[in-house]
Every structure is written in structure tokens, then in C-alpha cells.
Amino acid sequence: MAKLNLNRVPMPRQDPKLRGRNFNEVALGYSLEQAKEEASRCIQCPKRSCVDGCPVEVDIPDFIKAIRDGDMPEAVRILKSKNSLPGICGRVCPQETQCESTCSLAKKGAPIAIGRLERFVADWERANMPSANSPSIQPSASGKQVAVVGSGPAGLTAAADLAKLGHNVTIFEALHVAGGVLMYGIPEFRLPKEIVQAEVDYVASLGVKIELDSVVGKLVTIDELLNNGYRAVFLGTGAGLPMFLNIPGENLNGIYSANEFLTRVNLMKAYQFPKYDTPVKLGKRVAVIGGGNVAMDSARCALRLGAEEVYIVYRRSEVEMPARREEVENAKEEGIQFKLLTNPKRFLGDEQNWVVGMECYEMELGEPDEGGRRRPVVKPGSEFIIDVDEVIVALGTTPNPLIASTTTGLETTKRGTVVADEATGKTVKDRVWAGGDIVTGAATVISAMGAGKLAAADIDKYLRG
């Protein structure tokens, strides 16, 4: 048996000093040689346990083998037969907790860099197969209309799968571009918008109609869709409502929700103001409250906009941080400062209502909570002040209540999520399915895609039944 190669080919990245001042992509991607080298490490084990770790069941060993053999069109075909958004997944999926964690080489500490290879295949296709926008899969129209609400990862995946199965799909999107959180949330330097739009174009090329500027619940309701020719509706509207701390001073000027800050920067391109008309406040000392990926994205955007000091303020310690390890490391490399076991008590403002400081508590970790993470507890008398001129609140999001409040017969939880069957996405309402963050609360791109895929299969079964 050949000796195992445990040297993962590192991802070439922009220098931290340079990249902290630009919005270009941080990870530069493998060359063909690097991809082949990494692919040749795969032992093509019969267990194929990596596939079990993938929510959309990509035939991982097969596309890796095709890369190794230099048959890139075949790699593209294998990958895209299961995943309609590979350029996105290759960049933002937490592979370390999914496919790469179940890789046979993970036990040796050097799993195959599946995400990097996936990205390579997607990028290769975009550069070398521009005709991919006229896919070989020609939808054989079943003539049955399906409405997909929301064009984020769940909606795009459900729409693509339904179109491939021959159905007539229309996506309704509230914003002026398709992509949802991929466009407004995840920054350019982590997920270039050109790549999102290329994958949206691919979904459209399957015959999916995309209606922009369409706020379902206002412009048209779910019940109206069901009564006007749509045989089934998939809800993939995500978790768009920002949570705030509800502490004094939170409405001061210069305090943003992460959603607003990132929407201004990413969707509206405020980092190019005044070339683009939408402004964003350029803070010198910026505090980002929270420890998830959205907090890391916000902090790294603030840095790129020219901030001198950027703090991540998180009430637990680093091990409890929900952000991807890689993103925490990227943020640290770029000079983001971590103020851990710290929680804001109130915000301080000046006479013009601008935030100038933040009074915080020191925290310590107590007993584990129901989620198993140790609960942060306030240290009495530990208050101290951090001087800031901008604050970004990245505490998480809950589903927008608009759909639930305008649709009859949907069941929702206390947290505002829509109740749906985990295996099929079916809601309690006839002919309505749901998946992604609207069901789970804020989670990952790939889990939303997995839910979109399951729901598409069940909708197809229903339409054929």
C-alpha cells in the first residue's frame, strides 16, 4: 500500500497586511497543479464516509478522482449533478465539521481539502467552460408551477433541483438582486459577488424565472400564489430580522445591526462610496458584539473601511465562539482584537446622539446551559468603559414575521421559525414546504441547501403523485 501523504496543500492567500485594506478575495484558490497534488492524496477509500458528511451528498471521491486524472469537465459534471452552487459552497461551507471531518485521513490530522478542491472545480468551470450556462440537462416541462420564496441558498437549491426535475419554477425575491444572504451578508473578500451571480445565472439557465422586487406577504400572499396556478410553494426566506441587545443607548447614531452594516457594505457597495450612492459610517474605533461568522465578517469589513482599532466583544471565551476556526484565525491575522468574557451594559453618547463609548461587564463562565456551552455570568462591580465611535451588533437573527403573519394555517414556534418536517420540509399547511434558516433559525449556507434539496425531492414526489 502506498504511503499516506499527510501534507495538505496550503491555500494561497493574500498577505494579511495588504488584505486588511482591500475588499479583494482573501483566499486565492489552487492552481491546477496544486489541485492535482491535493487530489492525488485521496486514497479513494471504499467507505466514502466524506459523502455522508455532505448535506447535499456530493460524490466527493469521484470528482476528486476526476481532478487527479486531469479530467476537469468530468469533475464539473459530477459536482454539479448534486450541487448547483459549488463556487459558493467551496468558499463558505464549514467543511471542517462536515465532509472533511468524516474523511478517512481526518484521523491522521490531514483530511483532504475537499472544500478547496470543490472551489477549484467551480472556478475552473467559470474560466474554461463559459457555455456551461446552457446546461446539458434540458428540463422536460411537467407544466406544473412551483413558487419558491426567497433566493438565498435554500431557495436557489430547491429551485434548481425542481427545474432539473422538469417543473416550472418561479423564485420571488424581495431585494433587487438574487442571492439573499450570499449577496447582502457574506462580504466580497470571502465570497465575491460575481461568483454568486454566476451561480444564480446557472440556476436561471435551468429555466427558473426570478422575480425581483417582490415582497411576498405584501405584493402577493402565499394563499394568493396557491390560488393562482402554483401547485406548491417552498418558503426559503431565511432569518432576516436582526436581534438587538435591548440595553440603554442602543439607538445612538453609529450603532448598527450587522445586517444593516453588511447590507450597506456588500449589497449597496458602500465601500465604494461616493462612486456608489449608499454611505456607511467609517469608524476609527469599532466594536463588534458577538462571536459568530457574521461578527467576524463585520469586524473584517470595518477594518477594510479604514478603522484603526476593531474589537470583537464576546461574552464567553474563544472556545465557545460559534465562528469557523478559519475565520477567527483570519480575523486575528488581520489585527482584529478579541475582548473575550466581555458583555456590554449600556452605550454612551455625546450631545449629538453619536456613540462615544460602551460600558461593559467582565464575565466568567458558570455551569453549562441547555446547549452544553458554559453560561457567562456577570462579575459584580467589574464595569469598565471602552471608547468606541461605531458599534456593530452581531447577535444573530430570527425569521422575518412577514410571511407567517400573512399566511393562513402555518405553524410557527416561539422563536418565530416555521414548523416543518425535518426529512421533507413539509409544513402543516397544505402544499407548502419550508427549509433553511426560516425553519432552523440562523445556521449555515450548506444546511439551508440541504433542506432545499430535501424539500425539492418531496415536492416532486407530491407533484407526480
Partner: protein, 280 residues
């Protein structure tokens, strides 16, 4: 893309656009707004619908030229397109029979109050409309509002037309007069609405205001438009835009409206430098 069907300069700096948006026109209700974006580089801005026509498939917006976006918008002509128009957004006005309803409009708010005055009258109310401008040449839609109301009172700051004085003077006369009023609805600049709410408060007359904070998406996603009403934070885009004027934290709203003032000036200056040759 949304085609501009008609443009009209109502008064200096205030323009009327009729835009083709059939789906929005079908669902529009008094008090709701749309968010528009002119083109790829444009900002998303909210504008109250001044009118709509389901048969024609159009919505009418009236806006004041004030920053880069509205400056650029004002340069467009009938036949041109704007990239995006989304709506109808916000909760519709609460319309029912209250008795005597005073509809107050100042500046561009003269247009925004129109659908509400009409709906209030259709609901069986006695509608007294009061409109204000600094001077006669800034008044518009006088005849239209007169037709939509039982009574129209016009006031100008310089006394060049109608009564001399500000809207609060007229409002005070009405609410303290014989018949009084059961409800006041005010739309205009924030400062004007604040003064209206302060005027009616001592008389205990419910006063609904239409708040116009800065927005981005207009669907509850960003929280940019948060306002404090009765000590609670609300999102004007989804919880409003109508609120109880006596409970609004006006100082906070005024402060938040100034967040991007410097940026707006810079943006407009740069735009004017590059586009000085453009005019209507």
C-alpha cells in the same frame, strides 16, 4: 425595470413621477410606501405613494430634490426607466369612522396626505385638510385636496396666500375651536410633524404621524429605521410608518436623520462637479 410614464414639476424642487408598476398598484393602500433604486449605483430610498391607478397599472410618487439620489431621479424623463421599485411596504393607514379628521400636509407631505384624506372621507369622516408652504409659489394640489375634503385650509409662512402663519397656528385654531377634532393625521418633514404633535398634545387629540427615517431594505431586515415610540424600539418600515405622535421620541428621530448629513453633502458635491452640465 420600471418605466416612467409621466413627470411633472409641481413646484420648484418638488416633482411628481408616475411609474408603471401594475402589481404594486393592485395592492397599494393609503399610507403605504415604495422603495426605489434608480440604477446600479443608486441608493434605496423610501417614498410614500401619493396615488395609484390599478387600471393604468401605475403608482405616483412625489419627492423633494434634496440629495444625490433625488437629484438624479429628478433628471429622468417620461420614457426613462428606474431599476427597481418595490412595494407596497409598511402597514396601511388605519381608516375608520372617527368623526372629524384633520389631515395635515406640509411640503411634499401635501401629496402624501391625499390618499388618506380621500379614504377617511370615504369612511364617513368629516375631513378638514390643512396644507402649509413657506410661500404661495410652493403650494400645489390645492384644488385636488379641496375636492377630497369637506374643508380645506391653506396657510403660508409669508402670508402670500391663504392665512398667514404656520400649520401649527391653524391646527391650534381647529382643535381649540367649537367642533374640535377626533383625529389628526400629519405628514411632512419631521420637524413639522413634531410641532403638530406638540400642538395637539395639550388637547388630548390623537395625532397620527407618518415617520420617515432613513431606510435601506424597507422590509424589516436591517433595523436602520428604528424609532423609539412610548419607550419601545420599533422599525418604521414594518411596524409603521404610522405612529402615535404623542409617544414618538422626536429628538432621537431628528438626530438619526442626520447620521449621513456629511456624506450626503460630499456625495452631492462630487456628483454636481461631474454633472454640472445636466439639468431638466
Amino acid at each position: 425595470m420600471y418605466k416612467i410614464l409621466l413627470t411633472q414639476d409641481l413646484v420648484p424642487n418638488i416633482h411628481l413621477f408616475k411609474v408603471a408598476a401594475p402589481a404594486v398598484a393592485k395592492k397599494a393602500q393609503p399610507g403605504q410606501f415604495v422603495v426605489i433604486r434608480i440604477d446600479e449605483r443608486g441608493e434605496r430610498i423610501p417614498l410614500t405613494m401619493a396615488d395609484w391607478d390599478e387600471n393604468e397599472g401605475s403608482v405616483t410618487i412625489v419627492f423633494m430634490e434634496i440629495g444625490t439620489t433625488t437629484r438624479r431621479l429628478a433628471l429622468l424623463k417620461a420614457g426613462d426607466y428606474i431599476a427597481n421599485l418595490v412595494g407596497p411596504l409598511g402597514l396601511p393607514s388605519h381608516i375608520e369612522k372617527f368623526g372629524t379628521v384633520v389631515c395635515v400636509g406640509g411640503c411634499y407631505g401635501i401629496a402624501s396626505i391625499m390618499p388618506i384624506a380621500r379614504a377617511m372621507r370615504e369612511a364617513g369622516n368629516k375631513v378638514i385638510s390643512v396644507i402649509e408652504a413657506r410661500s404661495k409659489y410652493l403650494l400645489f394640489w390645492e384644488d385636488e385636496l379641496r375636492r377630497a375634503s369637506d374643508q380645506l385650509i391653506v396657510t403660508t409662512g409669508d402670508g402670500s396666500y391663504g392665512a398667514k402663519g404656520w400649520i401649527t397656528d391653524r391646527l391650534k385654531e381647529i382643535v381649540s375651536g367649537g367642533d374640535g377634532a377626533d383625529l389628526v393625521v400629519a405628514i411632512g418633514c419631521t420637524f413639522m410633524m413634531k410641532l403638530c404633535a406638540e400642538t395637539t398634545k395639550p388637547f388630548g387629540i390623537e395625532t397620527i404621524v407618518h415617520l420617515n427615517p432613513i431606510m435601506v431594505d424597507g422590509t424589516g431586515m436591517c433595523g436602520c429605521c428604528r424609532v423609539s415610540v412610548g419607550g419601545e424600539t420599533k422599525f418604521a418600515c414594518v411596524d409603521g410608518p404610522e405612529f402615535d405622535g404623542h409617544k414618538v421620541d422626536w429628538d432621537l428621530l431628528l438626530a438619526r436623520q442626520g447620521i449621513y448629513l456629511d456624506d450626503e453633502i460630499r456625495s452631492l458635491e462630487e456628483w454636481e462637479c461631474q454633472n454640472w452640465h445636466k439639468s431638466r
